[in-house]
Amino acid sequence: MTTAMESILMDSTVSGNPGGGGGGGRALTPRVGVVDGLRQTFSLAWRTLVQIRHNPLELIDFSVQPVMFLLLFTYVFGGAIGGSPHAYLMFALPGIIVQNSLFTTLNTATGLSTDLKEGFFDRLRSLPIARFAPLAGRIVADLAKQTWAMVLLLGIGYILGFRVGTNALGVLAAFALVLVSTLAISWALVLVSMLAANPEKVQIFGFVVLFPITFTSDAFVRTASMPGWLQAWSKANPVSLISDAVRGLMVSGPAGRPAVESLLYAVAFTVVFAPLAVRAFKRRV
């Protein structure tokens, strides 16, 4: 054991330290460069995506679950809400894309909470890496998961009869809008994950808040069918605005106004919650 250990550490002064004179004379960098920070971000994003390979349940979480939602809503509720499954699919697919992305932000929050609780975050912070990399790595990974889920939903939707009414540019713009909006909203969930004691609490809190917000929007049903007091809220609900914008960009109808309003919400969420989340992050770790 001892000899193996010696070789493990001894070669440190040789191969790991080409410029330095051994011992404490190792060449140190004064700070993390931006390029290094981005590289570290992608290494950590890789780590989050590799986790999926070892946890098939997570694959179900962000692949099977959205497809299940799509099928249930189209064939169970579709006829009743939209007249026919096909008519409803054209209305609901954009809403389901938004709903699914929103719920994916919970992954960011519970994942962060798990890392904090299990001490992996301390390991990361003890390394000479950019301070933003752990958080950014998780966000990049979740954006990748969201993109995958959106493509999957669009593909399955196409098989079920959904047709894009605009063009490829419209679809890309819709995807981009969803990513920007959910990224902004995820700041609020990052804050929750910093304040909550464990991942389970984050999950419960997220569900209790995200569920009603999503279902009181026009993601699944038209606002006009709701009682008056709910209509007022639903029209201001950011989930409604994002859904409207995605509909406009992917199917038909006005996209400009809801898109601009969605982006204003995104700015507001970022301005309010990003500093709070970063402050809570610094206090917690």
Binding site: T2, A4, G24, L28, T29, H54, F120, D122, L127, A133
Partner: protein, 317 residues
């Protein structure tokens, strides 16, 4: 002598709780330095400050000449952290965990993979390289934790309670690993609640209590001061306790501790025993129990501080 870690007057508060109340440390380069104390003494808080995870509220500390607050990035390039609070990703395999850290610390893909394989082999984890860390036993997990902290070839290594919660076999394995490290010139700062562990591994020990260092020295010096052994005498007749106390006091420098039935005292020389037995016999004391055993941390504390260790809630988190 050169020092790899120097801390002066470190203070850290968490709300009303004072976790560190002015800690001074000087850890010689290449040594294993033991930070010995009970739960809540401030050991982990001190390590977290030295590993740049916490900012001290007062005092300052430097690792290899780099201030832990102003030169944190340099300090992180020189240090490795293993312990209760620095962990691996349970869902990744052992290999993936080590590769991730290699990549994060600037190694190429090939370098990171080769280094990970070397470390896994050295820590006898090669067979488990492709299994998720959550399937590892407690001992394997600690070894993986330790391997993770060595990926970046640290000059200073923090081992925060490396054997807490391990079974005796895994603990002995861990001790062998730490002894192996010392042969390589790495400076190790080890925290522990176990006197025996500090005695086994450390060349110098600082005893920490309530956020301050209450004693420092080599294990031998500390044992000489506090008594590495504890003598316990229980007379058959409790009425003999004062007599026994007086006899024992005649052999040691410290004041023996007497309960209603038993007299205990720290001693440093086992050759004392026959002499004590003769005196007890001369005085006609009938002894029900007479033992000489290794001192517990509690007893060392008692002799150093006059109070027993308090199992306080750890305030370090």
């Amino acid at each position: 002598m050169t020092y790899s870690i120097v801390a002066e007057g470190l203070v850290k508060r968490f709300g009303q709780t004072v976790a560190l109340d002015g800690i001074d440390l000087a850890v010689p380069t290449g040594s294993v330095f033991g930070l010995l104390g009970p739960n809540g003494a401030g050991k982990t808080t001190a390590v977290r400050i030295l590993a740049t995870l916490l900012r001290p509220d007062g005092g300052h500390a430097a690792v290899c000449g780099h201030d832990v607050v102003t030169d944190a990035h340099q300090v992180r390039q020189l240090t490795g952290l293993t312990g209760q609070y620095a962990s691996v990703d349970n869902t990744l395999t052992g290999l993936e965990n080590l590769i991730l850290i290699g990549r994060l610390t600037g190694q190429s893909r090939a370098q990171a993979r080769a280094r990970a394989r070397d470390l896994l082999a050295a820590f006898r984890l090669a067979d488990a390289a492709d299994r998720a860390a959550k399937t590892y036993s407690g001992g394997m997990r600690r070894r993986l934790d330790l391997a993770a902290s060595l990926v970046n070839r640290p000059r200073v290594l923090y081992l925060d309670e490396p054997t807490t919660g391990l079974d005796p076999l895994s603990r002995n394995e861990m001790w062998d690993v730490v002894r192996g490290l010392t042969a390589t010139g790495v400076t190790v700062l080890l925290t522990t609640q176990y006197l025996e562990e500090a005695d086994q591994l450390a060349s110098e020990i600082a005893v920490v209590d309530r956020g301050t260092v209450i004693a420092t020295g080599t294990p031998e010096e500390l044992k000489a001061r506090t008594g590495a052994l504890t003598l316990a005498v229980r007379p058959a007749d409790p009425a003999d306790v004062p007599t026994v106390t007086a006899i024992v006091a005649g052999f040691i420098n410290a004041e023996p501790v007497a309960t209603n039935t038993t007299v205990t005292a720290p001693v440093s020389d086992e050759r004392l025993m026959p002499a004590v037995v003769r005196r007890l016999d001369d005085e006609g004391v009938v002894v029900a129990e007479l033992t000489l055993r290794g001192s517990s941390l509690d007893e060392v504390f008692l002799s150093l501080t006059g109070h027993r260790t308090e199992e306080e809630e750890s305030v370090a988190a």
